[in-house]
């Protein structure tokens, strides 16, 4: 990781600048929901490349399997059956970390260097620095990180930062048989998305559009949605995600100010002592009692 560590934009729980002399192109994964057939090849590729095998679960009577993200399933396909204009639509969304430009996980993390954001936009967890508090889950607007029951560390999609660092596309991209998953420079991906959206609009999906939510500064995983006006249709993809105001309050300026206030109370006490002097029992009272005793 020595080379990679020169292009870090943000480092969790660190108040000085991250090593960022090298600038790299911002990358993005584009998920074209309209072209996804829900085959889960990406899920399998993710397991294979990252060498993680989730527990074998049980069938819940739906296609979703596993039912949710876990510490060992960093991406899952979510299948929603919705009615639009009297027609049934089967909306399939590949869920996983969005690699936010303004990541709530990183903002909330109290462990220095446990979460990094690279200049290329990837938000990566470094589990060897993770303390297992789960603050990243509290901070994330997309409910992505998961704590492992085995080691107590938080895990999520790394956008295959190891592959991207050596010029390879993420494993899921390689596996997708329909071209629903694309990867490249973020600008390029936006152009590609425009073409797709045009095509969808010409075929009757007036509200087709790109999901690159500005509330988190944009994301490095973007969706092409046929119903971009109703992202919630896609298994509750948030409409206008952003870091919760409570998380901003919790992690904002109040803390340095509180720290100064605490220092103020401690120093104030010290100076009170040296200016006013200690509050001692008066000599007269002591003498008075001594006289009483002598009687």
């Amino acid at each position: 990781m020595a080379l990679q560590s020169l292009d870090i934009t943000r480092r969790s729980a660190t108040t000085t600048p991250a090593p960022s002399v090298r600038q790299t192109t911002e990358v993005a994964k584009l998920i074209d929901v309209s072209a996804c057939i829900g085959c889960k090849a990406c899920q399998a590729a993710c397991m294979e490349w990252n060498d993680i095998r989730d527990e074998i679960g049980t069938c819940h009577g739906v296609y979703d399997n596993p039912m949710d993200l876990t510490a060992k399933s960093w991406t899952v396909m979510r299948y929603a059956e919705v009615e639009q204009d009297g027609r049934l639509e089967w909306l399939i969304r590949k869920d996983g970390c969005m690699h936010c430009a303004d990541p709530g996980c990183l903002k909330a993390c109290p462990a220095p260097g446990a979460i990094l954001q690279y200049a290329n936009g990837i938000v990566d967890f470094h589990e060897e620095h993770c303390i297992g508090c789960g603050y990243c889950i509290t901070g994330c607007p997309f409910n992505i990180p998961r704590l492992s029951k085995e080691d107590g560390k938080a895990y999520k999609c790394s956008l295959c930062s190891d592959r991207v660092a050596v010029g390879q596309a993420p494993a899921c991209i390689k596996a997708c048989p329909t071209g629903a998953l694309q990867f490249g420079a973020k600008e390029q991906m936006k152009h590609y998305a425009e073409e797709r959206i045009h095509d969808l609009q010409s075929r009757g999906y007036q509200k087709a559009g790109l999901y690159d939510p500005p509330g988190v500064g944009g994301t490095h995983v973007m969706y092409v949605l046929h119903h971009a006006d109703q992202p919630e249709l896609y298994s509750r993809l948030p409409n206008d995600p952003g870091i919760s105001p409570l998380v901003s309050l919790w992690k904002g300026v109040a803390k340095p100010l509180a720290t100064l206030a605490l220092a103020g109370v401690a120093l104030g006490s010290l100076f009170h002592y040296v200016t006013k002097g200690p509050n001692e029992v008066s000599k007269e009272l002591e003498d008075e009692l001594e006289k009483e005793d002598a009687k």
Binding site: A13, T14, T15, P110, A111, P112, H129, C130, I131, G132, C133, G134, Y135, I137, T138, N143, L147, G152, S244, L246, V247, L249, W250, A254, K255, P256, A258, T259, A261, L262, V265, A266, S269, H272, Y273, K276, G277, P278, N279, E280, V281, S282, L285, E286, E288, L289, D293
Partner: protein, 207 residues
């Protein structure tokens, strides 16, 4: 000189031990909690064997503190009921802080400031326990909105409580002859007469 038989008993051994369990757990909680509070304090995690250990231990120490504080609370709550004399004392606390305590209203076992501190700390404890449990992912799984609120409440209350404890400890250092009450349970008669005259009269039967 320290163990004058005429000294007045202020705390029993049980009360003192109870107080020290609360005090020690508070210090451990403040040190480990501050490690997560702001990066400036993260090195404090080393005192507990690193960030992960601090994260694991903190809530359990919290439970110990909650239980021992509850016992302390029931021991002392009746003695901390506010009276008009306490309010009068509080309204003139400025004179006290200024070091001029001669004409302060006469006080019982606790003065208005101590009583206010007692209730403020009890409230802080309640908020810290409730919000701490909400954030405790090893055992509890609550909706994320509640955890977010809990995190804010926990951090804010912890900061307030640490400040209150600074004041509590400083008051004991400032008023000479006080700390021994928590070491071996007694105070001198002169100390009692000066700072808690009503209590002095009550326990000695003198004026």
């Amino acid at each position: 000189m320290i163990r004058n038989p005429k000294d007045l008993a202020r705390y029993t051994a049980h009360e003192r031990a109870n107080h020290w369990v609360v005090g020690i757990s508070f210090i451990l909680l403040a040190l480990s909690g501050l490690a997560f509070f702001h990066p400036a304090f993260f090195p404090l995690a080393q005192l507990f064997g690193g960030g992960t250990w601090a994260r694991i231990l903190h809530p359990y120490v919290g439970v110990l503190m909650a239980v021992s504080f509850l016992v302390l609370f029931f021991r002392f709550s009746a003695l901390n009921a506010m009276t008009p004399a306490d309010r009068e004392w509080l309204s003139r606390v400025g004179e006290m802080v200024d070091g001029n305590d001669h004409d302060m209203p006469e006080q019982g076992k606790y003065n208005g400031g101590q009583k206010l501190m007692f209730w403020a700390l009890a409230l802080c404890m309640l908020l810290l326990v409730a919000s701490g449990i909400v954030m405790w992912r090893a055992w509890f799984d609550v909706p994320v909105g509640v955890i977010r609120l809990g995190a804010v409440v926990h951090a804010a209350t912890a900061a307030v409580m640490i400040a209150l404890i600074f004041v509590h400890v400083y008051a004991a250092i400032w008023v000479k002859g006080t700390i021994r009450a928590m070491w071996y349970g007694t105070v001198t008669r002169a100390w009692a007469k000066q700072h808690h005259r009503a209590w002095y009269r009550q326990v000695t039967g003198k004026s």
